[in-house]
Point group: none
Chain length 521, copies 2
Amino acid sequence: MMTKVFAYDTTLRDGAQAQGISFSVEDKLRIVRKLDELGIAYIEAGNPGSNPKDLEFFRRLGELTLRHAKIIAFGSTCKVGADPADDGQLASLLSANTPAVAIFGKTWDYQVTDILRTTPEENLRMIRATLAFLKAHGKEIVFDAEHFYDGYKAHADYALAALAAAVEGGADSLVLCDTNGGSFPDEIFDITRVVAQRFPGVAIGIHCHNDCELAVANSVRAVQAGATQVQGTINGIGERCGNANLCAIIPNLQLKLGFDVIPPDAMQTLTPVARFVSEVANVEHNDKAAYVGADAFAHKGGMHIDAVKKNPVSYEHTPPESVGNTRRVLMSEVAGRSTILGKIHEVDASLDKDSPQTRAIIDRLKALEHEGYQFESAESSFELLVRKMLGKFTPSFELKQFRAMVTEPALEGAFNSSAMIKIHVDGEDEISAAEGDGPVNALDRALRRALERFYPQLREMKLTDYKVRVLDSSLASAAKVRVLIESSDGESSWTTIGVSTDVIDASWRALVDAIEYKLAK
Amino acid sequence: MMTKVFAYDTTLRDGAQAQGISFSVEDKLRIVRKLDELGIAYIEAGNPGSNPKDLEFFRRLGELTLRHAKIIAFGSTCKVGADPADDGQLASLLSANTPAVAIFGKTWDYQVTDILRTTPEENLRMIRATLAFLKAHGKEIVFDAEHFYDGYKAHADYALAALAAAVEGGADSLVLCDTNGGSFPDEIFDITRVVAQRFPGVAIGIHCHNDCELAVANSVRAVQAGATQVQGTINGIGERCGNANLCAIIPNLQLKLGFDVIPPDAMQTLTPVARFVSEVANVEHNDKAAYVGADAFAHKGGMHIDAVKKNPVSYEHTPPESVGNTRRVLMSEVAGRSTILGKIHEVDASLDKDSPQTRAIIDRLKALEHEGYQFESAESSFELLVRKMLGKFTPSFELKQFRAMVTEPALEGAFNSSAMIKIHVDGEDEISAAEGDGPVNALDRALRRALERFYPQLREMKLTDYKVRVLDSSLASAAKVRVLIESSDGESSWTTIGVSTDVIDASWRALVDAIEYKLAK
């Protein structure tokens, strides 16, 4: 019988504290739906007492039917000297109408006397009275013991007394918070075990921050010490260095240590959910993220690739498909011929490694790599190259000419850059022009304007990432540059490449590939 | 007496395996210099047997005088059935002429029989013979026990026998590798302790990967179990999910656990070194990185800010200045006021930290950093900024207008780009034009042509390096870019910066600074 551990997601509450993160009501509803599908047990969705936008969100939550998740509204204990029944913040919390609430309170005596500026006894009363008030309203109560580990290290007796007050008030779970992220795995294990033994009738939770890059390890160690609830966020989103990353904790606990955290089938949606949240939060998805990053199962060195082909366990700690990710064998001169053949087979399965076409493609690949192309992160451009060489590609348009121009200083109220473009599609010429932030942006706009008449589906496509790298930078402004463009149409995303001594020309090549790839799909 | 732990950096070897990372010989020399200043004990700098570019680098290492670091050349055991004396790879390793070498060998029996396809006994011979051969050449030997933890979990006896063979061959240290990154802190602790007890006369090292987001915790636990050498990379650069991150491990061990890893003074250079390596590797520096990220000590929530003002320990696990980072409240705040004052003193030694001019410069610096400027690697632009703000700068020319134009396809035999420029110097207008490889190159040529009549000394100056970085790349082709230009006149070199939404405009700003700096010298 596997031990049950409840995943508690706070992406929408603590995660939203991160710099640059801001969710609309619609964003939050979409994320709740995805988290429920993933099998998250608790979703801490906002703080209705401090944020009027959250109240609207809680009202609209009724639109959703959730299969797994309980929604949690988050708030704090009542004020010093006050009666919880008179506390507007707690009234808002109740009006959110959730089955469960989370209340944070102080457990570090220094924080009570120096930050809250009250007596240790009054803080205990505030905890007890606030929880009892909410319990009388029938709520399941999660008590977040803020700064618990620092408090325990300073004065264990007081930290434990605060937990006891929460239990007396009716807490269903005690969440031990490493609020500043400064604790270490061995401390977390030892202290969590003491608490679990002291309060056998209550669930113990863990809430870590990543300030020492230890949040995942600390969360895992707490569970190994007896915690049965793990708080964290998708992709570790959160202020400072982030919250504990559920996308690593969940597979670590379930796939490696045998705990029962989410439904087994749901594990395969972990990578898509992680990417979805990055997209909604409008942050770059971390390619190097454990389990869910694009590079997590990417292999480059020739020796590693050979070994992984013989047996994936050679350089993979877990099968990528178990978390909905995929193995990637990077295209580069170190990659063997059989890797490239795999890519060729996606276009034409009849070719083998000795076919003249295969040899021609490999020769062309080598020549392009020598020029500075690198297809390991631009597989869409490689696929187009293969299609072209196998005669399976018809260009969607022909460039007659473009002109891009930059003028400094710019005219008052005008962009400094403009582009004119003339293309030929199906026997017709089309000419258009656009302004932009720089010549690449102007060119991008002018090209789309010209093409949309013929290919309206291009409207759903947008450029999501643009990278420039200078190759052999000792040639200074005449050096070659490599441009990578990532595009998305909402359903999938693809990356294309261009190399040239001219950044405009390199960008143009990547841009054309991006559009051709979309139209070939 | 604090226990000594040796920091072992492999950014230039294992880190360079990461997708998209490629260091030039010059880059590698610059990084070695910085790592030495940081007090890194061992720098694993490359694999001379597999990479001819590395051989040139090892030859040029003689140019550097290192205070702390020992350079390590990396290679593998000899081939199955072979004599190390006949092994070309080992001969290259010796030709690198380093005081120490690292050799990796297999310790997981499954890898020996299924990947290497030889007998367990032959693998032991290969380890023993290779190390004995290198020892006879007077090398300090680091033995990297590949897949050690997986091997130990499968067949402990064989994994330990492989270590014993390495000790018999003359290994000075045994580095236990969690090659696939799949091990957990408690396992790492237990197994490392067994090894440390079994081989008391040899130093034990730890080499972790971050596939379960546990590499920092695993490294720390290994040291707590008796390891005295920690391998990792700056910023955790490395293939898949990266190597163990020395920028978190070093302060965790030294500031939190009391180990002696690097000179105490050097700790304050940790953040600048981390940013420097990101810059040279041309990767975005991770804002959320523990200790060295721009957000690591950033406070957003009003309550947190109030508490931090009352006492930083409220929401900071360590003082930011201890690792050369800074607290940020709301907007960006600049690296140490005293650092900036030092720069200001180079222009005007009479100013102190409370002078209104100093405050004005710091305010301007903050505003520019917020826009995406970063003066750490562009000190010449910073010096010009200080001169301008102190009224100690007279521009050498005034731009009336430039126009840069790109046409595709280019006319037969012509460059695709051209630029026209009109400037004003000493009451005279000068207009000139040039073609080039791309608009920046054309503009650079046109500007020099116009200026050389007035400033013939510009003929001795040339651009030696040109880097482009996209900031906030989710805005795609309308994103901001940062351009760094390195120039040289044979005697000295200097770096200048420009930031704009337009790569041409950003390049122009950096170019003007480069020329003004030369003329102000």
